[in-house]
């Protein structure tokens, strides 16, 4: 297989996967399953952005749940309390989250590694305090309820099917967009930065611009996910955007592997589904369901440790290793 046919097969596969995902409601009638899959799609949107930030720009964030929260509260407040049209509210939510990302990225430019992690973590905790205390905007601990469903003109997306399509439609677009970015010029600039910052600068790459762009983009995508969450769920409360959520999101990205969008996206799908595992396997006895719910934390921990132990390069690394192997079997001459 030549590189060109491989790429063709890859993009063909991606289109097929997207079509399958969007066609799913045709066969799935279970509203619970659709709701869970909607949550999966929401995480895919966040993680796709974080894949660029971490996997390509090399930045670690422990604060992305805060951007999701900013998006969710903005969209929720504007549609439920201020009576804005849905589309405008979502645009405002994305813009505000992206702005938050920009505001955090600029002073963090000099920070690396653990210090950047601390800065984003601190931002996340402070944002959560604001979500709790700004009661007139956010509803405080009781949450912001009565958020209307998404609507465009007279069309109101008020069924699990339509919300699934909305979220996964957005997810497919986001994943395609992000894949385009990392394959194009910005992706190469990021790769160059990862190699050697000095070398990249010599080639005309502006590290500041690359890093700030990646951070702002990923924050905006997290905000988009939050806005869609608010309209799909109809209720927003601070605990959904706590530090634990940020940590889980980072775990998804790392489990997915660096320099890949597909890896983190798959990891997001797998880890989100794992949270609802007791409801997804059909035919479990009541005792098993209760035991699964009780042992969920242990299972989650073991899975994270296990994957990192056996596949430290993440899902993307696994795929790369597998491809390398198949390539060396079919003959090394073809691959350049």
């Amino acid at each position: 297989m030549s590189d060109r046919t491989r790429r063709f097969a890859q993009s063909g596969g991606a289109v097929l996967a997207a079509a399958a995902v969007l066609a799913l409601p045709l066969v799935v009638t279970d509203r619970y399953l659709l709701k869970v899959l909607t949550f999966v799609g929401l995480n895919v949107i966040i993680v796709a952005g974080m894949a660029v930030l971490f996997g390509y720009a090399g930045q670690v964030s422990l604060g992305h749940a805060a951007f999701t929260g900013i998006g969710a509260y903005t969209c929720g407040f504007l549609t439920a309390r201020a009576g804005w049209p849905w589309m405008t509210a979502v645009a405002a939510a994305v813009a505000l989250s992206a702005l938050g990302g920009l505001a955090l990225a600029l002073p963090s430019l000099r920070l690396r590694g653990h210090y950047l992690a601390m800065a984003t973590l601190g931002f996340s905790v402070i944002a959560n305090i604001v979500f709790v205390e700004a009661k007139s905007l956010t509803g405080g601990n009781d949450g912001l309820s009565g958020i209307p469903f998404a609507s465009v003109g007279p069309v109101r997306l008020d069924t699990p099917w339509s919300n699934y399509l909305l979220v996964w439609g957005a997810a497919v677009v986001v994943v395609a967009l992000v894949s385009g970015i990392v394959r194009g010029r910005p992706g190469r600039a990021m790769a160059a930065l990862q190699g050697s910052e000095m070398g990249a600068m010599a080639c005309g790459v502006d590290p500041v611009r690359v890093k700030v762009t990646a951070f702002t983009l990923s924050a905006g995508l997290a905000g988009l996910s939050g806005a869609l969450f608010a309209s799909a769920v109809g209720f927003v409360s601070p605990t959904s955007f706590a530090l634990e959520t940020s940590i889980i999101l980072l775990a998804m990205v790392v489990l997915g592997g660096t320099r890949s969008v597909a890896g983190p996206v798959l990891a997001a799908v797998a880890l989100t589904l794992l949270t609802y595992i007791d409801g997804l396997i059909p035919g479990l006895s009541k005792t098993t369901v209760a035991a699964l719910q009780d042992w969920k934390g242990d299972i989650y921990g073991v899975v994270i440790v296990g994957v990192m132990l056996f596949v430290p390069a993440g899902m993307a690394g696994l795929a790369r290793a597998w491809r390398r192997k198949s390539r060396s079997v079919t003959g090394a001459g073809e691959a350049a």
Binding site: G113, E133, L255
Partner: protein, 293 residues
């Protein structure tokens, strides 16, 4: 504000600060010899307290035996975590190992809930008796234990690092694993000793604080966050920097609550922390150029 009140605010700040410092010490020594942040450090704190209460109540051990037993059990857990979950992947990027410690902390917290139940439990103070009055301010006897332990931990670590062969090996490992191996240091053993030491520090903190606050299966995450913040504030440098970071964080919180707002004290402390690392990206006492990631 009277002088006695100011003294009371300071005592409160230094009490919390010493707790943060003990956790920060654990973060710092593990970071020094491995370059990773151990997010399970808070769970060592939780295990120390919970195992001590269990040994006291269920096994009926006296407090004098329950405390060392809890520390020993936690040290065992710490060594096992290092041996089983971290050593096999030590060659990987630090973030891979950090995510492993996050998984470990989820597992430990969940297992503790199965073993010890979901409720908070109490431990009696090491020395009974009313608080001591000091220039009009009250100090609990247990707080003196926390301070004493922090001082002893600091001293022991200082002696270990500067006066022993093991300490020399730990410092060499911190600089470079490869060159340490070249000069004949068993770096694997050094790392395991470091983890055991960090677990002991966490467990000691957990046992010493439980009489003040009670403890529960889920106290690890929050205290881990505070300890991480303190370690970063100190600059992930030596033990002294970690303790200083903890004390500064505790004082900032207490004085914010005293003079600005108790609702926003955590936010204020974090803003101060962010300001410090934005202005001086290597923390208050860290040296530039030691970054490992």
């Amino acid at each position: 504000m009277g002088a006695a009140q100011l003294l009371q605010f300071t005592i409160a700040g230094l009490k919390n600060g010493a707790i943060y410092a003990l956790i920060a010490l654990g973060f710092t020594i593990v970071y020094a010899s491995t370059g990773i942040l151990n997010f399970a450090q808070g769970e060592f704190y939780m295990l120390g307290g919970m195992v001590a209460v269990w040994a006291l109540r269920t096994l009926g051990l006296p407090l004098l035996a329950a405390v060392p037993a809890a520390v020993l059990v936690t040290v065992g857990v710490g060594a096992l975590v290092e041996r089983l979950a971290l050593r096999p992947r030590r060659a990987e990027a630090p973030l891979v190992l950090i995510i492993i410690t996050i998984g470990v902390s989820m597992l430990l917290q969940s297992l503790a809930r199965h073993l010890f139940g979901p409720n908070e439990v109490a431990l009696p103070p090491f020395t009974a008796g009313p608080s001591i009055t000091f220039f009009g301010a009250a100090i609990e006897r247990q707080t003196l234990w926390v301070w004493g332990l922090t001082a002893v931990a600091l001293l022991v670590l200082w002696v270990l690092y500067t006066r022993t062969k093991l300490g020399l090996a730990m410092r060499a490992t911190a600089v470079s694993h490869d060159s340490s191996r070249l000069v004949g240091i068993d770096t694997a053993r050094v790392v395991m000793v470091t983890f055991a030491l960090a677990a002991a520090l966490g467990a000691l903190a957990g046992v010493a604080v439980a009489p003040l606050t009670q403890t529960a299966y889920d106290v690890g995450a929050r205290i881990g966050l505070k300890g991480f913040a303190a370690a970063i504030l100190g600059g992930l440098g030596g033990p002294v920097a970690a303790v200083a970071g903890g004390l500064v964080l505790g004082l900032t919180e207490s004085l914010s609550a005293a003079f600005i707002s108790s609702t926003y004290k955590d936010a204020i402390a974090l803003v101060v922390l962010l300001a410090v690392i934005f202005l001086k990206p290597s923390g208050l006492f860290g040296r530039a150029g030691r970054e490992k990631v």
